[in-house]
């Protein structure tokens, strides 16, 4: 089964949220977590990025690429980037992979490459 990263759609007003909220940021009228999950699109353009050199202890790599991507539906997300010469505005496509590995846990998130 393909893994997805989900946005949360308010059942009352349709506003999409990522990250999730317990109360809708638009209508603010949810009784209790009235959201449907909708997979985030996986293509978009790179808004900004960095290469990090001093990483948290869990990362056994020399550098880590990170970027903020504007997805094709206008929502934004942060992800890891695996792009040799990134530039702002470039088209990227994402896939869901392990982005953080701890002793007994694997965390999945979006990793973007050049589209």
């Amino acid at each position: 089964m393909a893994r997805e990263i989900y946005a949360y759609k308010c059942r009352r007003c349709g506003t999409l949220h990522y990250p999730m909220r317990m109360v809708c940021k638009n209508c603010k009228e949810n009784d209790f977590f009235e959201f449907d999950t909708v997979p985030l699109p996986k293509t978009g353009k790179l808004l900004t990025y960095t290469t990090v050199y001093n990483l948290p202890a869990q990362y056994d790599v020399a550098t880590l690429g990170l970027g903020i991507v504007e997805l094709e539906n206008g929502m934004r997300m942060l992800g890891q980037i695996e792009i040799d010469n990134p530039s702002t505005g470039m088209a990227v496509k994402g896939s869901v992979k392990v982005v953080r590995q701890e002793a007994y846990d694997s965390y999945y998130g979006m990793v973007f490459t050049a589209a």
């Binding site: 990250p19 808004l47 900004t48 934004r76 942060l78 890891q80 953080r100 998130g109």
Partner: protein, 391 residues
């Protein structure tokens, strides 16, 4: 609401301190209590971000109260990320302004060097959004770097401008004996010379080593009192005239305009409104330069410069000592150091020092109104305070 005055201030050296956390807090507090001339307080607020995680100590305020023999005063710790310090000052302000307390001790403290740099970086990164930021390995330098890249592309800020902030603030720290960094740096050494890439490597492109504040231990404290008590104590009358605070989205990428620091703008606007002043009235400011880009962006959001023109003011020397609006004349976070929980209180310490005219070599001539901007999260929780000297 009653007026609230700062009757006493205290600080420790910001550096790597081989003392227990409680003692660092107590030392700064004792200096503030002695400065104010009080031996009893009604309430203690201790600002701290990492004691439970870094120092394996909880309920810090109770420890500080007992250590200072201030029993049975009320005591509580306030954790609000890197804006803990100013959030604790706000709590102390509210306690006195409400009429509930006459004398409140506000102490900010952090001992981050108990762990190594990677652990300290990870500890600070835990303030990011757990599911959409932290899991990716995002650190505060990474956030600042992505923000800086946008800023550079949109407004023409260059690595040279960033380095200029670093040089200005780190060299300003040479005039502050309590500051962590006591080493003069030059643009030549960190940017222009062939050795610059060795001296000043990237930590998160486009930010380099000298664009980031050091990881520090230290404490700072204020004694807040009512007007009646302030007159009785006879210290210079420094009033907290404005208090503003604002929050913003937890995940940075979600903000409509990613180069805006809305919470900074809103916190400053609220503080100005309460004080009945505007940015043009500020004589001296302490901005939260955890990264050089932040001083530039914040100088715009608090209204010293139009949006996108902060780096131009920097170029002209307007933010240096002797300029139109001197910023971080005691070194800022970059030079003084950034023990996260202590920073907001240390900023107030510097402003009160300036308004009292005790700044020595770094004194802003005739300073009467000052501002502090304490920036929590990556701009998701910001506290702005204004201070005025009443003659």
């Amino acid at each position: 609401m009653r007026d609230v005055y700062v009757a006493g201030i205290g600080i420790t050296t910001f550096t790597r301190l081989e003392y227990p956390l409680t003692e660092i807090a107590a030392y700064a507090s004792m200096m503030a209590l002695r400065d104010a001339g009080v031996t009893e307080v009604d309430q203690i607020y201790v600002a701290n971000m990492g004691a439970p995680r870094i120092n394996h100590q909880t309920a810090l305020a109770s420890a500080v109260a007992d250590s200072l023999s201030l029993l049975p005063a009320g005591a509580a710790a306030i954790e609000n990320g890197p804006a803990s310090g100013a959030a604790a000052i706000k709590a102390g302000f509210q306690a006195v302004a409400s009429g509930m307390d006459e004398v409140v001790l506000v102490t900010g403290v952090e001992r981050m060097r108990e762990v190594n740099n990677l652990e300290a970086t990870d500890f600070v990164a835990t303030l990011t959004h757990p599911l959409t930021e932290y899991i990716y390995g995002v650190t505060l330098p990474a956030h600042a770097a992505m923000f800086a890249r946008l800023y550079m592309e949109k407004y023409g800020v260059t690595e040279r401008h960033l380095a200029m902030v670093g040089v200005k603030n780190q060299n300003a720290a040479l005039n502050n004996k309590w500051a962590h960094l006591q080493q003069k740096i030059t643009l030549e050494g960190i940017l222009d010379s062939p050795e610059a890439m060795t001296n000043n490597p990237y930590v998160a492109e486009p930010l380099r080593f000298f664009d980031a504040c050091p990881v520090s231990d230290g404490g700072a404290a204020l004694v807040l009192v009512s007007e009646e008590k302030a007159r009785e104590l006879g210290r210079p009358m420094i009033r907290i005239s404005g208090v503003g605070q604002a929050t913003d989205t937890h995940a940075v990428f979600e903000r409509e305009e990613p180069t805006d620091l809305l919470a900074v703008r809103r916190a400053a606007a609220a503080a100005y409104e309460m004080a009945g002043i505007g940015p043009e009235d500020i004589d001296v400011a302490e901005l939260h330069d955890a990264f050089t880009i932040l001083e530039i962006a914040e100088s715009e959001e608090v209204g010293f410069f139009p949006k996108g023109e902060g780096h131009l003011g920097l170029e002209k020397g307007e933010t240096a000592l002797g300029g139109k609006i001197p910023i971080n004349v005691g070194g800022g976070l970059k030079g003084r150091g950034h023990p996260v929980g202590a920073t907001g209180v240390a900023q107030a310490w510097e402003i009160v020092t300036q308004l009292r005219g005790d700044g020595g070599k770094r004194q802003v001539e005739g300073a009467r109104i000052g501002l502090t901007l304490n920036f929590g999260g990556f701009g998701n929780n910001v506290v702005c305070l204004t201070f005025v000297r009443e003659d």
